[in-house]
């Protein structure tokens, strides 16, 4: 896995993937902290590992019968949204007028 050191440009790339606006002070701090954490996790390089990734724990997932059942009330769910109208979530305009 190597000892990747995270530079400011890499922090910006990851923040864009994570949809996270960062301030100018946060960027160098995160570069330092993430580099230190990656340096620590690099000890996994020493470990011999099986080829295949494991599946889910035995017995999981548990599925129920595919039958309709009462669900949450739509208005009650929308009441928790920052903005809703006429039974829908409202988002900023996606397509420019």
């Amino acid at each position: 896995m190597g000892r990747d050191v995270i530079a400011a440009a890499e922090v910006r790339r990851i923040a864009a993937l994570a949809r996270l606006a960062l301030t100018e002070d946060e960027i160098p701090r995160l570069a330092r902290e993430l580099s230190a954490i990656l340096d620590y996790v690099a000890r996994l390089d020493a470990l011999e590992l099986p080829e295949a990734a494991p599946g889910p724990p035995s017995g999981l997932p548990v599925t129920r019968a595919d039958e309709p059942a009462p669900s949450l009330d739509g208005d009650a769910v929308l009441a928790g949204a920052p903005q809703a109208a006429r039974g829908h979530f409202v988002v900023p305009r996606v397509i420019a007028p």
Partner: protein, 485 residues
């Protein structure tokens, strides 16, 4: 602390059952205690009116011949990352501030059906990410015995509320130690059930392959009773296993004879474990051996890799789970930038605190193109090896003994600037989390004026009866919270 013995949930329920105590006065006493110790910061919200109304309804029902239930009249505190219908649930985060869930978590619903009365929501590290409760957007929680120290985390408010005697029972969640480590710091009992034992419906997700709901209590039998009442399959959670729930857990006996205990001595005494913690775990091994258990020193070769594996998997899963906070469906929105993407970035940038951002960033990196196999993939495979080693040890032993945390409650601010030092507080708890094994923290006996030390037992998967039997054997030998009646 008052010095007066604090009643267990079972003692309160028994008194309510006979009519010696009304549910209303039980709840009033809890509400008064919560108000008196408001300075702890343990509660984010107290649900006074609804709690009193529920208590009065229970008292009227009892007068009409209805059974108040095995937890009738018991005041219950709920970590603020478990959904409570009609009662705001913030997860200690600005991004969810003011959000009121339209449903109850299954664990909450089942304990309420057994008669427990929710008195309020407890403070926690934001989205369960932290080991000191310093990462709550709504302020820290003080350790009940020393206001300069942390109560542990992330279920710090629940642990402080039980330790201070405000409530006998609280729910927390444990992803990498968030029930056990604060129980250890505060000198009470904290139980993380087997992965799959308790439904996570209504538990706000942090790392879905690790998260479990668990009780914090003043004794082992209260934790056992709460587990029994909330465990079992749930049609709303595909990870609630179809495994029968053991009954009569609170009536178990703590006989150590015939128990096989693996004492992880080398691991327990690794560099960084404080002397008081080493002494506490050694005295647990001695107490079990003196009681007739077969105690052997053993090792867990892969334990040293548990924390790096946890750091990668938990953050990867968190980066995915927390993608849902997009300013559209829940909580707050911050306007900014262009279009939906700009709004999402602004909302998340303003709404998440530093630790949550750090973990989302690390997890996003570990999952990103070009790094996925080297980080996330390797961590998954390392986890499988560690889980297999734990299973092999728990075929040989009924329970493994080790510390809960390498140290006692530390001072607030002491580790705030060093994320790695903070993560090391969980070095012993992440082991059972990665394996999916049940584990419990118990307070070791201590001298007057000394801070609590927790000892941890890990049991076989779905082997809670065996784990609790070993825990009771220790409890009967002085590994018990102070002043419990």
């Amino acid at each position: 602390m008052s010095g007066a013995p604090t009643k267990t949930a079972r003692a309160i329920a028994a008194a309510v059952q006979t009519g010696e105590l009304s549910a209303e006065s039980s709840i009033e006493q809890a509400l008064e205690a919560i108000a008196r110790r408001g300075g702890l910061g343990a509660f984010l919200r107290v649900d006074r009116d609804r709690a009193l109304a529920a208590a009065r309804a229970q008292d009227r029902g009892r007068a009409a011949g209805r059974d108040p239930g095995p937890l009738g009249g018991v005041p219950l505190a709920i970590k603020d990352n478990l959904c409570t219908r009609g009662l705001a649930t913030s997860c200690g985060s600005r991004i969810l501030e003011g959000w009121v869930p339209p449903y109850d978590a299954t664990a909450v619903e089942r304990l309420a059906a057994a008669g427990a009365i929710v008195v309020g929501k407890t403070n926690c590290d934001e989205f369960g990410m932290g080991s000191s409760n310093e990462n709550s957007a709504f302020g820290p929680v003080a350790h009940p015995e020393d206001p300069e120290r942390v109560p542990g985390g992330s279920s710090g408010g629940s642990a402080a509320a039980v330790a201070a005697g405000l409530v006998p029972l609280a729910l927390g969640s444990d992803t990498g130690g968030s029930v056990r480590q604060p129980a250890s710091f505060c000198g009470i009992v904290g139980l993380k059930p087997t992965y799959g034992r308790v439904s996570r419906w209504g538990l706000v997700a942090f790392a879905s392959s690790l998260d479990q709901v668990g009780p914090l209590a003043r004794d082992v039998r209260d934790a056992a009773l709460a587990l029994e009442l909330m465990a079992g399959p749930d049609g709303r959670d595909a990870t609630a296993a179809a495994v029968p729930v053991p009954r009569g857990l609170a009536a178990l006996e703590g006989d150590p004879r015939g128990l096989r205990i693996g004492f992880l001595r080398d691991l327990s005494e690794r560099e960084g474990t404080e002397p008081a913690v080493r002494a506490g775990v050694r005295s647990a091994a001695e107490a079990l051996a003196a009681g007739g258990a077969a105690v052997e020193e053993t090792t867990l070769e892969l334990a040293e890799y548990a924390l790096p594996v946890y750091a990668l998997l938990a953050t990867a899963e968190a980066s995915s789970n927390l993608a849902r906070y997009d300013g559209v469906r829940f909580g707050r929105r911050t306007e900014g930038g262009a279009g939906p993407r700009g709004m999402m970035e602004a909302t998340r940038g303003a709404g998440f605190g530093p630790e949550v951002k750090r973990r989302i960033m690390l997890g996003t990196f570990a999952l990103s193109a070009g790094y996925h196999d080297a980080y996330y993939g390797r961590a998954l495979r390392a986890r499988a090896r560690l889980a297999a080693e734990l299973d092999a040890q728990l075929a040989r032993y009924d329970a493994l003994l080790l510390p809960t945390s390498p140290g006692v409650a530390f001072r607030r601010g002491e580790r705030a600037g060093d994320p790695l030092a903070m993560y090391l507080s969980d070095v012993f708890t992440v082991v059972a989390s990665l394996g999916g094994h049940p584990a419990i923290s118990l307070p070791a006996p201590r001298a007057a004026g000394a801070l609590p030390v927790g000892v941890q037992l890990i049991g076989p998967r779905f082997g809670e009866p065996l784990l609790l039997r070993a825990a009771l054997a220790l409890e009967e030998r002085g590994f018990a919270a102070a002043g419990v009646a």
